[in-house]
């Protein structure tokens, strides 16, 4: 029978699947249980995900110890990321995709949601840090069908004015539709016209293209791209970054979220806090019918939770 304190301690050590650890609870219980080793011994016997009876001791489980390292370091990680220059952050994230096998979706995220100057800054920072250009490393390391799209996305220096040529936008919507019909879902990511349009046109122009696509063909382009996750993500990032970021955040909180997914939460909160966190909160509420602040408060712990709430512009729980 777990006591209240044991339950609190379990939760504080991420035993409830939440992210981060409840530092204040841990400190308080350490104090309360001083000179009462029977309490901690009883806890070890009850928290059997972290401890298992082996010989005469309740041994610490290795993979749970690993998990605890990650949970304890979420606050550390988010703080360091927060302190870094935004361009260095982006450059390091890009480098992890290229050299540490992090998901390509992160590269698409950076290349498509940043402004032209921010992406340029990331490219300059990449050169400073790694002594190569970003496009040279992406081109060299990514040799599969994603290559054209990724190299094109990271090399873009998009026009940022509002001027759009509607005739061109209409014809490009048609061109994309034709390409989808002829190429077939799995080859579409290599289609020259699709890549050209998505990687060189300005964002206002692309929004017009997506709008005409729906008008002319009845379905949203994203729906028709459901066969290629990366392309689908590219369109979402270019058209509605707030929705995209909401989805990344939501993935972090789902049952059985993997390490990359939970890291996405920190990445998004840090990188968007000064940019469009308000729009993201709105989009999140629309998509998931819940306030982001509430979900954060429920599903994260300690300083990690508090830093996320601060980044979201919310008062601490």
């Amino acid at each position: 029978m777990a006591t209240d304190e044991q339950l609190a301690l379990t939760r504080a050590l991420s035993g409830d699947g939440g992210l981060g650890v409840e530092e204040s609870t841990l400190v308080s219980i350490i104090g309360k249980w001083r000179k009462k080793p029977e309490h901690i011994s009883s806890f070890r016997k009850s928290f059997n995900r972290l401890f298992s009876i082996t010989g005469h001791i309740e041994k610490c489980e290795d993979d749970h110890m690993q998990k605890l390292v990650i949970e304890f370091s979420r606050f550390h990680q988010i703080t360091v990321l927060w302190a870094m220059h935004p361009h260095e952050r982006d450059a390091r994230w890009a480098n992890q995709v290229i050299h540490k096998n992090h998901p390509s979706s992160i590269l698409v995220e950076i290349a498509s949601t940043r402004s032209a100057e921010e992406l340029l800054g990331a490219r300059k920072a990449y050169q400073t840090l790694f002594h190569h250009s970003l496009e040279e490393d992406v081109a060299y390391q990514v040799k599969d069908s994603k290559s054209k799209l990724l190299v094109g996305l990271v090399s873009a220096y998009r026009y940022e004015g509002q001027k759009v040529d509607n005739d061109v936008a209409k014809s490009e919507a048609k061109a994309i539709h034709n390409a989808l019909k002829t190429a077939g879902a799995n080859k579409i990511i290599e289609n020259d016209e699709v890549v050209r349009i998505l990687t060189t046109r300005s964002k206002p122009h692309l929004k017009a293209v997506f709008k005409y696509y729906k008008e002319l063909h009845g379905k949203y382009l994203e729906e028709d791209l459901s066969g290629d996750a990366l392309l689908q993500q590219t369109v979402l990032c270019l058209d509605s970054p707030a929705s995209y970021f909401s989805q990344v955040i939501n993935s972090a909180f789902k049952e059985g979220a993997n390490h990359a997914e939970t890291e996405g939460l920190s990445r998004v909160m840090v990188s968007r806090s000064d940019v469009d966190i308000e729009e993201i909160k709105e989009a999140y509420a629309k998509l998931y019918g819940a306030k982001l602040a509430d979900v954060i408060s429920k599903k994260t712990h300690g300083y990690f939770r508090d830093s996320l709430l601060s980044l979201a512009g919310e008062a601490r729980a």
Binding site: L120, R123, K124, Q127, H131, H132, S133, L134, E135, E136, A139, Y140, S147, V151, G152, S155, A156, Y157, R158, Y159, E160, G161, K163, D192, R196, T200, R201, S202
Partner: protein
């Protein structure tokens, strides 16, 4: 080095503007006076003159020049009067709008510039034409040329001196493989040429020559009429020896009968304040004729006078 001659005492922008305004007024145009002013001022001084002219007379100096001058002389002066970055953007825009596989301008401008200069051209292009450079190049080129040109104009090459000699050997090997198989448009060829740093590429070309016997350009001459091969060779030459490349552009512009004024104007106006002196030296070594003499022979009138003023003469 620059070949411009600037007077010891430079008149104020106001004095220059008055002289120009007088040159425009009345029945004819005093082209000599126009050349005397514009061909002997630095880019900064010319920018000041443009601003001052607008302040005093309420009109863009370039519009007045457009009204008063004609033909090759006009084109040259207008190009010359643009701020250098603006000029490159204008040249690229011109090349893109009437793009054909014979185009030589895109490679020349994209590859002879530093990474930051190319970036400045991209920014100026957006301001002037309300589109990005890469979007226009992508929309106006097709097939293999698009595959080559878009990454070329989008590149932001690393500019450090570091060379990975193992990588240079392996990429030289990759290039050799695809060249031998005549897969000139292969992704790897394009990747290497459009993304690697210039130092790395120099090492790669050297490794190519050492390991495979021929300089890489020699192996890219299978079909002398092939525009794509020409583009590849141009990229390589613009990286390894840009001044020799530009000497050839000038030399060919005045070859045989007829003169390619666009090419001649382009090289002279874009290089007069940069490295035209070095290009002249190469020209003399190659042709045993001074560039100014070749221009005298091949051009005439005010156009000739203007070019000669920019090119300068060693017999000063």
């Amino acid at each position: 080095m620059s070949t411009l001659t600037i007077p010891h005492v430079v008149p104020s922008p106001q004095e220059d503007c008055e002289k120009l305004h007088t040159a425009f007024s009345g029945w004819g145009t005093n082209e000599g006076d126009i050349i005397e002013v514009v061909a002997h001022r630095t880019a900064a001084q010319r920018n000041a003159i443009r601003r001052t002219y607008h302040d005093i007379y309420g009109e863009d100096l370039l519009k007045s020049l457009d009204k008063e001058l004609t033909q090759d002389f006009e084109k040259a002066v207008l190009l010359w009067m643009l701020d250098p970055i603006e000029r490159d953007a204008a040249l690229v825009n011109g090349a893109v709008k009437k793009w054909s596989p014979h185009d030589r301008v895109l490679v020349e401008i994209a590859v002879t510039k530093t990474a930051n200069e190319l970036l400045a051209v991209r920014k100026a292009y957006q301001e002037k034409y309300k589109k990005s450079l890469e979007e226009d190049v992508a929309a106006h080129t097709t097939g293999d040329f698009r595959k080559l040109m878009v990454p070329l104009v989008s590149s932001y090459r690393y500019e450090g001196p570091e060379v990975d000699s193992g990588l240079a050997k392996s990429e030289a090997h990759t290039l050799r493989k695809h060249i031998k198989d005549e897969e000139y448009n292969h992704e790897e060829v394009i990747r290497i040429l459009t993304t690697r740093s210039k130092s790395q590429l120099m090492a790669t070309f050297n490794a190519y020559h050492e390991e495979h016997g021929n300089p890489i350009n020699k192996d890219l001459k299978k079909d002398p009429k092939d525009d794509f091969l020409f583009a590849l060779r141009s990229i390589i030459r613009c990286i390894t020896c840009p001044e020799r490349y530009l000497e050839k552009v000038i030399r060919l512009s005045m070859k045989n009968t007829g003169t390619d004024e666009d090419a001649l104007t382009r090289v002279v106006t874009t290089r007069a304040e940069v490295n035209l002196k070095e290009i002249k030296e190469i020209y003399y070594k190659r042709n045993t004729v001074k560039l100014e003499h070749a221009i005298k022979k091949d051009t005439k009138g005010h156009y000739e006078d203007f070019l000669l003023a920019l090119v300068g003469s060693d017999e000063e």
